[in-house]
Amino acid sequence: MLNKLIFANLGHRPVRTLLSVLAIAVEVTMILTLVGVSHGTLDQSAQRARGVGADIWFRPPGSSAIGLSSAPMSDKIPALLMKEPHVTFAMGTMVQPLSGFDAMTGLDLDDFRRLNGGFHYLKGGPLVNDNDVVVDEYYAQQKKLHVGDTLNLVNHDWKLVGIIESGKLSRICVKLPMLQTLTGNPGHLSQIFLKVDDPKDAQSVVDALRVKYHGYQIYTMEEFTSMLSISNVGMLKSFIGVVIGVAVIVGFIVVFMAMYTAVLERTREIGILKAVGGSSGLILNILFRETLLLALLGSVVGILLTYGTQWLMKHAVPASLVQETVYGWWPIATGIAVVGALLGAIVPGIKAVKQDVTEALSYE
């Protein structure tokens, strides 16, 4: 019977109900999209790192897992590393951060080929001249690039000679010496990829290297890719925390407004329920059930909307932002929406309970 009253109440003001549901949906979408993009971006980085085909990842001291540093290591190090036991090959690259999440990588194509067989070209071919650049399919799609186009990166005009299959190392690759010169880092590297004779020995090789190259960031690729998670990226974790905080406040305000208006508008109805013996608990029960229903409906709509944002990103910015569906966050985002909404219903609820019956019954 109570549920019938609740559905009837919500149906009585369809526009207000719809707006409340939409506002809560936006709150949920906001959380799920941010989490989805964080996961997607990190997973893509991990996938590209795995695509390199190396066993060990070697970075300069003080660098972080997702830090896109410039080039603080000497390019003499790979030769030294190749003399280490079990190390069969070492390839150094230089990473130059661009705007947003983009970065370009300078590499030696022959070395890269030795490591993993090289790129698979969907269009065009490999780097030949110093000004040549290859980009992956998503970057080309996002920037609407074709082989033969000129693109300006790090204040230099590059000629696009090839479009590569995504999933190996970087979305934008150029020749290593050219990038080193252009960025004022001749003879320097950002990272080194190592191959060992038996991948099973990778950890013991890492342990030995850590002793010899104290302070350097040295990981097996398995270790490195497992580090690419939200909990390991402090800034991202804080950012998600802030967005969740904002989402809770949004949910609180929306439901507060909706319920406060509802309580004011239903002053007489609340008075009637009290007059016929409805207790304070019953009044609160009705308001909280309505709120819960709004929050749950909003969460479902919000989850559905994330498929919209996912589609939008996939078609508008496939190289910059990758959004994954993180099912584990569905109940978390729903929980956050419910908590925000219930908090928003507390003050209107108290107002409803405190209403004087006789005054409420004479409310016009």
């Binding site: 009837a8 109440n9 009637i272 007059a275 016929v276 019956v357 019954l361």
Partner: protein, 224 residues
């Protein structure tokens, strides 16, 4: 030995504080209503009849005096106790019907059953009341689809559904035309006769009061 009155009021006062002014709405009311009686309290606006209605219905607390309702002393009752009293002992009929606009006529009655902790089904006796009220074919309609007279009949049915000891009616015909007024008053009288339902009606209309077995007059917060 005669049966004790179902409503027993002694030296009842009610004082409202309006800003710094004390308004004495009731100034020592004594009243007895017998079980099964249909009584009308008549008085002009400001006579205190509505305040008496609110106190007897447990809608507002008294200031001093004693009120016994179906054997229960209302003095010192907490809010929760007055809520319980409204749930179990008293049925209301208001001037403005006070039906929930989002529910059908039927659900307006059922929700009172639900609040009263009863099964939300209409037993044969209550079906008879609905027939008597002539609203059986209007039960699926929402209040806005009913005429004033029909809404008031639904409100009467709602007031009776939990078989209260006392039905309190506050100006039940105040919003109705004379034809509907007469029909509703006739029904109230009929319900009193057939069911032995105790009814206390508040009105300012002498014609409406004439349907009652007994008329009690009020003026300036006192029974006269």
């Amino acid at each position: 030995m005669s049966e004790p009155p179902i409503i027993k009021v002694r030296s009842l006062t009610k004082t409202y504080q309006v800003g710094e002014v004390a308004v004495h709405a009731l100034r020592g009311v004594d009243l007895d209503i017998r079980k099964g009686e249909f009584a009308a309290i008549i008085g002009a606006s400001g006579s205190g009849k509505s305040t008496l209605f609110h106190i007897l219905g447990g809608l507002t607390p008294m200031t001093t005096g004693t009120v016994q309702l179906n054997g229960r002393d209302m003095a010192g009752m907490t809010n929760a106790e007055r809520t319980e009293l409204r749930k179990t002992t008293v049925g209301f009929v208001f001037q403005k019907y006070n039906l929930l606009p989002t529910l059908s006529a039927e659900d307006n009655i059922r929700i009172v059953q639900y609040i009263g902790g009863r099964d939300t089904v209409f037993d044969p006796a209550f079906q008879e009341i609905l027939k008597l009220l002539g609203i059986t074919d209007r039960m699926k309609h929402k209040p806005r689809a009913l005429s004033g007279g029909q809404q008031q009949r639904v409100a009467i049915a709602r007031g009776l559904v939990n078989s209260p000891a006392i039905l309190l009616a506050d100006e039940p015909t105040g919003n109705l035309d004379s034809e509907n007024s007469a029909a509703v008053l006739k029904l109230i009288k009929d319900l009193n006769r057939r069911l032995g339902q105790t009814i206390l009606m508040i009105t300012h209309d002498a014609d409406a009061a004439s349907y009652a077995d007994r008329i009690v007059k009020m003026r300036d917060g006192r029974i006269v």
